[in-house]
């Protein structure tokens, strides 16, 4: 499965937990990601933001 978004892609803990029906730590994303392209701008407890700076 490949996901693309123009400019900015945000993964929020809340929306993942809603779909999984369980608690989810953003670090768990590391177990699921196979390859990526872009710039990981922000990675904290609540969200992962992939976006270019400029």
């Amino acid at each position: 499965m490949r996901i693309t978004a123009p400019g900015r892609l945000v993964i929020t803990r809340e929306s993942v937990e809603e779909r999984l029906g369980r608690e989810w730590e953003t670090h768990e994303f590391q177990l699921a990601i196979v390859s990526y392209f872009g710039h990981i701008k922000e990675w904290d407890d609540d969200e992962i933001v992939i976006a270019w700076d400029h």
Partner: protein, 501 residues
């Protein structure tokens, strides 16, 4: 997460009181890079040791469960064909030892960089690279029980002619300073070229029934997102710290793009010729993973700092429809001296090549295979009876052609201290002339054979010194792997599988 990260990584750092800082970190000035404030290094992952080990352990658990299941169910018999494993032989011999070298050099960075943020990120990557080395060896060792070419990869990496290509690439990076290494491996290799290098191998595994390789690949690639981030943070950090860093970094990008790109030539032929079931063409992979993602995305972002696309990128784009054909034609005629096999592309394979390379295959390369078909009919098989001229920088046989003429070999010559040195391309010549003192030391396999340093003067002498055994190389059809594969698949009684009889 942020507070924990601050407390468990950055706050563990201290200012030296009775030793000069430059004595503690003696390697971060000679390259000319200026750093004013190490605390400006951003690590979006904010990993701590406990979180790191928890998730890495989980990744390993998942992988080893797959390896066990595959081994217990004789999974190797479900591959598309034994010849598929040539791609994996190349991977184990050429790439796995690089993971180990990366482990070593990131450990060096974890000691030598001044800032605690980058030191911790380098430490994690160092441990990752060791994990990749181990998981790759464990995954592919399963095939070593049944197939040739897997048994002596470490010694071969240090000795065999085609493996001097990836080895010398990485040695070049290891012998540079810490910042150049960060741009060479952290940025150019791990960010610019990683998807182009690794995704084709892993997709090839997935399409050809190699579940364990696919799983180690995905497991490793999940660390790769952190490595890519480290590479990108490194370049942005250097560019933001001082304007004087920009031309130095640009020159490293120019150099390391071309060095890394030349290594991917092995991936190009793997995709187009070695995989029994094709995934995508090299041209397609290059357009997606390099032209679209890197030139269309990354370099647009870096333009903000005054960074331009790599110097010889147009030469790389210009050869995307010829590269894999030229490289495979070379490996085909030298595989008697390799630890993998090659074979004549059959009618289906040639149709696929013609469809994917409408502008070049039928016109330039099919005539060569047609001639080889006649040669085979007459009892021949094209194996070169001697040694090729090698490029002084990338160490690949000088098989590449002029950027605007795919029928004329590219010969470049430079003179240093009265001695002639040949290179395969504008990119390699530019790299040589920038630092000739470095490249005159190249351990070129052909020259070393002629100097008598590789076991003896004859082909059998050299192959013995390489640790290449009967069944490792040569023609695939009729090889030990091919014969075993057929007998394992044709026999009603499978109890002898893996035995030599």
């Amino acid at each position: 997460m942020k507070q924990r990260y601050e407390a468990l990584t950055r706050d563990l750092d201290w200012e030296p009181s009775y030793v000069a800082k430059s004595d503690v970190f003696p390697h971060t000035e000679f390259e000319g890079i200026k750093i004013h404030d190490w605390s400006k290094w951003e690590d979006p992952f904010r990993l701590t040791v406990d979180a790191y080990t928890k998730y890495q352990a989980e990744k390993d658990k998942r992988l080893y469960a797959v390896l066990d299941g595959f081994a217990q169910s004789q999974g190797h018999l479900t591959l598309t064909e034994a010849s598929y494993l040539n791609a994996m032989k190349l991977f184990l011999q050429g790439v796995t030892p690089l993971e180990y070298q990366a482990h070593r050099n990131f450990a060096y960075l974890a000691r030598h960089l001044n800032g605690p943020g980058p030191r911790f990120a380098a430490l994690c990557q160092s441990i990752d690279e060791m994990r990749h080395t181990q998981t790759e060896i464990h995954t592919l060792s399963n095939y070593n029980k049944y197939y040739g070419g897997f048994h002596n990869y470490l010694e071969q990496h240090d000795r065999v002619w085609y493996l001097s290509v990836p080895k010398s690439f990485f040695d070049d990076a290891l012998t540079a300073g810490p910042f150049e290494f960060l741009i060479a491996i952290g940025f150019s290799f791990e960010y610019l070229l990683t998807n182009l290098l690794f995704v084709p191998f892993m997709s090839g595994a997935s399409f050809n029934g190699d579940l364990p390789t696919m799983t180690f690949g995905f497991s490793a690639q999940s660390d790769e997102s952190r490595h890519m981030t480290l590479g990108l943070e490194a370049i942005k950090f250097l560019l933001e710290q001082d304007e004087a860093n920009v031309p130095i970094v640009q020159a490293w990008i120019d150099k390391w793009f071309w060095r890394g790109y030349r290594v991917t030539a092995l991936v190009a032929q793997m995709l187009d010729y070695m995989l029994p079931r094709k995934v995508m063409s090299w041209k397609e992979a290059f357009e997606l993973y390099f032209e679209e993602q890197m030139l269309g995305g990354l370099f647009q972002d870096l333009a903000f700092y005054g960074i331009t696309p790599p110097k010889h990128v147009d030469d790389a784009i210009a050869e995307k429809e010829i590269l894999s054909h030229q490289v495979y034609w070379t490996l085909y005629q030298f595989s008697h001296a390799a630890a993998f096999t090659t074979t004549f592309p059959d009618a289906d394979a040639q149709t696929w090549l013609a469809e994917n390379y409408p502008g070049t295959f039928d016109k330039l390369y099919k005539p060569l295979w047609d001639k080889e078909a006649r040669n085979l009919e007459n009892g021949g098989r094209h194996f070169v009876r001697g040694l090729p001229q090698l490029c002084q920088v990338c160490q690949i046989p000088m098989l590449f052609t002029e950027p605007d003429d795919p029928t004329t070999l590219c010969q470049r010559e430079s003179v240093h201290n009265g001695e002639k040195f040949q290179t395969c391309s504008n990119g390699c010549q530019w790299i040589f002339e920038r630092e000739p003192e470095k490249y005159v030391q190249a351990w070129l396999p052909v020259h070393q054979i002629y100097q008598g340093n590789c076991g003896g003067p004859t082909v059998p002498d050299v192959l013995a010194w390489y640790g290449i055994q009967e069944g490792d190389g040569g023609e695939y059809k009729g090889s030990v792997d091919d014969t075993n594969w057929k007998s394992w698949h044709n026999a009603a009684d499978h109890s002898h599988i893996g035995s030599e009889a």
